[in-house]
Subunit: 326 residues, 2 copies
């Protein structure tokens, strides 16, 4: 115990990336956590880490879970983890929280949820905050997925808190996306329908023991039936669960596996993964360009341009042109 | 009525930016709304619009209002609008909503809140969603502020929904930032304190008629007193309001004006505005670089790089290097 603690402190001083990667690949949770911290911190050690992880990626089944607040995302994630573990597979969870250096909620949530799976080395749960400047969640989430994938987790669940712009992006980048709904959400769900019909590979009406669940499922099915799909396209199933009791959750896991099998057979999995990799590469390239910009536009020059904009003598577009010409 | 409707349709077809700017400057709400839509849509007409607006900017008092969910941000915004209007000044409100193509809440919120100020040409309220890809709110908010400023609004309130990363940025870019708190928020507030002590120019404990309000104000004052500040620095006041009844809100407006006077006298206003302009210019320059990248990295090349990343033969950093060399 004391040896491991002192080793942890030593790691923080001198950084042995190959050792960290080896330990993460060996299933050591602290090493996995450290690698994800590198992602969150946009550490300069990331480049080396990602190079070492690359040959070991591409195995995990990456599942996005999204839905409006109140539908039971955390409970559902928890139940899916339990169901996946029942089949012997290892699960990593990334809870993506677009809010809050302030709320403090993310850490608390982890502690509560870890409880159910405490001591299970086959489960790793981590909240991620979008604190970065290089492109936020769309930049950091795929890299965190890459860490869990290389660390041998068979399934990686990305739980998005809320359903905003960045979450839609994250959902679009998963191998399979679950859209979660619940009865009694009122007009919000109505307003949402147009958008959610495009992102789900699998629809789950949670809290199915409540009034109105059957109606929500019926409405969804008829709207999905109206959507134009090619005959060979995936037809997203609509399932019902009571995540709190686990009812119906095994069927969700089965449906995810069916979607995966279909995705592999049709080449859709490869297409999605190439799209995800492409977005990652572009985000990193843009970050590199941004760093170059910071070198090119030295402090004095951009200061003068900003002052001209404040004085109304120039506008931000003209100033940006000048900055790039400089 | 029918003429104005047909004119609206004509505008959508053929785009007369100088006319739109002139009408916005003349106080026509629909023209102001259209210009902000250009910002949200990242329209190519923005460049021309911003050039025409630039000479008329720099007059508005830009106020950020932020705070955790449940503290009464919308009610407080509403009350501040009423108080500012009582003094005869015109107010524009930007409600910045980081969530939701899905929630539909933004539009509904506008309709409800517009009710209090319906028919008042001195008030303009607009929700903004972070739908853009060019850098989200940090890119679009200052440009929307620019529109309202040039349209002659004396005060521009930026209400941030929630207190996440992007909101902190937005708050940092206002001339004056109000941090709103309320009693009974429990641990969330405790956890938040470290962060909020840095962003507020003015602290308002709302719902001051509830138990615990005095305690929250006391705690805040003692924490603010502990913060290291230079003797000539601004010492943020802590005020109490009951926004729902308007109690204490006039004092908030007075404190904002005091902070503005201090900011002008000390040069802080100019510094903040240069910082805001600088962030805008950099964001636009990065967007331009990104567009160049899209031209440089043609479809086939980035496709091959992405495929190599998916196959584990390369990592995103190495692929980004190749893309930029290409």
């Amino acid at each position: 115990m004391s040896r491991s603690a002192s080793r942890g402190r030593a790691d923080r001083r001198q950084f042995d990336v190959p050792d960290l990667v080896a330990r993460a690949r060996g299933g050591e949770p602290r090493a996995v956590a450290r690698l994800i911290s590198l992602v969150e911190d946009e550490s300069s050690a990331l480049r080396e880490a990602m190079g070492l992880l690359a040959p070991h990626t591409g195995r995990a089944q990456v599942v996005g879970i999204t839905g409006a607040p109140g539908v039971g995302k955390s409970t559902s994630t928890n139940a899916i983890v339990t169901a996946v573990r029942a089949g012997g597979r290892r699960v990593g969870v990334l809870a993506v929280d677009p809010s809050s250096p302030f709320s403090g909620g993310a850490l608390l949530g982890d502690r509560i949820r870890m409880g159910d799976h405490a001591g299970d080395k086959g489960v790793f749960i981590r909240s991620m905050a979008a604190r970065g400047h290089l492109g936020g969640l769309s930049w950091s989430t795929p890299q965190a997925v890459r860490v869990l994938d290389a660390a041998g987790f068979d399934v990686v669940l990305i739980e998005t808190v809320g359903v905003g712009q960045s979450e839609v992006e994250v959902a679009g980048l998963a191998d399979s996306t679950i859209v979660l709904l619940a009865p009694g959400m009122g007009d919000g769900i109505q307003a949402a329908k147009a958008g959610i019909l495009e992102v789900g590979d699998l629809y789950v009406v949670n809290k199915a023991d409540r009034d109105g669940a059957a109606q929500v499922a019926r409405d969804l099915r008829s709207m999905l039936a109206l959507a134009q799909r090619r005959p060979d396209a995936w037809h997203p199933p609509v399932l019902k669960t009571v995540a709190a009791s686990g009812d119906g959750v095994a069927e969700v896991v089965t449906a995810l596996d069916e979607h995966r099998a279909w995705s592999i057979a049709t080449g859709e999995l490869q297409r999605r993964r190439e799209r995800r990799a492409r977005a990652e590469v572009e985000a990193i390239a843009v970050a590199a360009l941004r760093a170059r910009l910071a070198q090119v536009g030295d402090h004095a020059e951009i200061g003068a341009l900003a002052a001209a904009v404040v004085a109304g003598e120039s506008d931000p577009y003209t100033a940006a042109d000048r900055l790039l010409e400089g």
